[in-house]
Amino acid sequence: MKGLEEANSLKRDLELTIKALSESYEELSLLYSMTSELLGLDPDDISMRVLLLAERIFGYKKSAILFLDKAKNLYPKAWRGELNPEDLLKDKTLIFKAIKDKKTRAFCKLLNGGGEEVSILISPIIGKSSEIGALIVLESPPKEFFANEIKLINTLTSQAGLFIENSILYSEFETLLTGSINCLIKALEASSPWTAGHTERVVHYAMAIGREMGLPRDELERLKIASLLHDIGKIGVPEYLLNKPGKLDEEESLIIKGHTQKAEEILLPLKHCSNIIEEIKYHHERWDGQGFFGLRGEEIPLIARIIAVADAFDAMTTDRPYRKRLSFEDAVEEIERSSGAQFDPEIVKAFLRWFSRQHQASLF
C-alpha cells in the first residue's frame, strides 16, 4: 500500500510541476512575442499590440489602456471591444491606487454605472523612471482572475512600460535633434536672405520623391536629416561661387568641392549624423560621372541622388541674383532633359510622377 501512496504522491507532484513549468513557458512565450512585436513601435501602436496580445492569450473581450498626461490626468490611449473608455474614468480612485502601489489589482463583482456586475483588472504600466498609465480589463458577466493570470499580466504590463518609455524617450531625442538641426539651418540661411526657405523646400521635394519611390521608414528618416543638412558646408564658402552660371575654373572648382568636404568636417563630431556624411558630401555628383568627385551611377549614394534632383529643382524655381526663376513646368522639363546625364533616371521618373499628381490636384 505504501508503494501505491508514494506513487500517487509522486504523480501529484509531477502534475504540479508540469503546471508550474507550463506557466513559466507561457511567460517565456509572452516575453518572446513582446520583444519581436513591440520593438521600434510608437506608444499608440505598442498599446494596441498589448491589448491584442492580451486578447489572444487570455481571451479578454473588453480592455483599454489609459495614459497619464503631464498633469497626471488619465486619458484613453487604446481600447478593444464594447466599452466606452470614458466610463472607466468616472471612478479613477482604484486606477490611481494601483499605479501608486505599482501592483496589479483584480476586483470581482463590482457594480458598474448601470447597476451591472463586472469584474475589473487594473495593471499599472510603469517605466524605469516614469508612470505611464494602466491596462484595464473588464469582464461582464463577472469572472475570477486567477493568480497565474495576474502574474502573466504583470509581465505584460511591466515589459510594455519599458517599451513605451523607450519609445517616448526616443521621440523626445529625435525632436531635440531635429530642433538643433533647424537651428543650424536658420543660422546658415540668415546669412543669405535670398536662399531663405531653400532647405525647407528641398526637404519637402526630397521626401516626396523618397515616398514616391517607396523607401522604408528608416531610409526616409535618413533622407530627411541629410536633406536638412545638405548645404551645411556652405558655411564659409562664398555664395557667388555656388550659384555661378557656366563653367568654373580650377580654383573655383576646388573651393566648391570644399563645400561638400566641409560638411564632412562639420558633421563628423555628431555621432547621430555619421551615417549621412557620404550622402551630403556627394549631393553635387552627376549620374554621368562628370561631378566634383567623379562618382558615377549607383556609386553615388541613393539619398545623395535624390537630394541632387530636389536641390536642382528648387534652385531653378527660385530667383537668384544672376537670373529670374523658371516656371515649375520649365524646371520640370529641364530636369527631364537632364535625366541620365546629371540625374538618376529612376529618381527623375519618381519625381515626375509626384509632380504630375500634385499638378493635377492643383487644377481641380
Binding site: I18, K19, L21, S22, S29, L30, F58
Partner: protein, 123 residues
C-alpha cells in the same frame, strides 16, 4: 458528448505533458514521443487534429506531414506544426505541404488551446 481526439507528436516530454495538462478538460490527448511510431498511430487512432513538432530525430515533422498528406484517408486531418524560432523558411515549406497552422516555440499553451477550440469546437 465524446471528447475529440488530439494527437501530440513531439519528442520533448515536457511539451507533450504540458499540452496534455492544458487540453485534458476539453479533449482526449494522445502523446507520441517516438516519431518513428507516429504514422502507424495516426492510422490506428484517426485523431481529429494533430499537433506535430518539426524538429525530431530520425523521422522529422515534415516527413510525417508529407506522409499524412499522401494518404487519402488521413489527408483531411488538420495539422498544426510546432517549430523553433527563426525558421521562417520552414513555415513556407510547412504551409506548402499542407500544415494548417504554424506555431513558433516558445508558444503560449493558452493560445494553442484557443486555436484548437476555434478549429474543432468545444467538446
Amino acid at each position: 458528448m465524446k471528447k475529440k481526439k488530439i494527437m501530440v507528436i513531439d519528442d520533448e516530454p515536457f511539451i507533450s505533458m504540458m499540452i496534455e495538462d492544458k487540453f485534458k478538460d476539453n479533449f482526449q490527448v494522445l502523446s507520441i514521443r517516438d516519431s518513428t511510431l507516429a504514422l502507424d498511430a495516426i492510422k490506428k487512432e484517426k485523431p481529429d487534429l494533430i499537433i506535430l513538432d518539426w524538429m525530431m530525430p530520425r523521422v522529422s515533422g515534415l516527413d510525417i506531414l508529407k506522409s499524412i498528406k499522401a494518404e487519402p484517408e488521413l489527408k483531411e486531418i488538420p495539422v498544426f506544426m510546432l517549430t523553433a524560432k527563426g525558421q521562417e523558411d520552414d513555415e513556407l515549406a510547412g504551409l506548402k505541404y499542407g500544415a494548417e497552422r504554424y506555431i513558433t516555440k516558445p508558444f503560449s499553451p493558452r493560445e494553442l488551446l484557443e486555436l484548437v477550440i476555434e478549429r474543432l469546437g468545444r467538446s
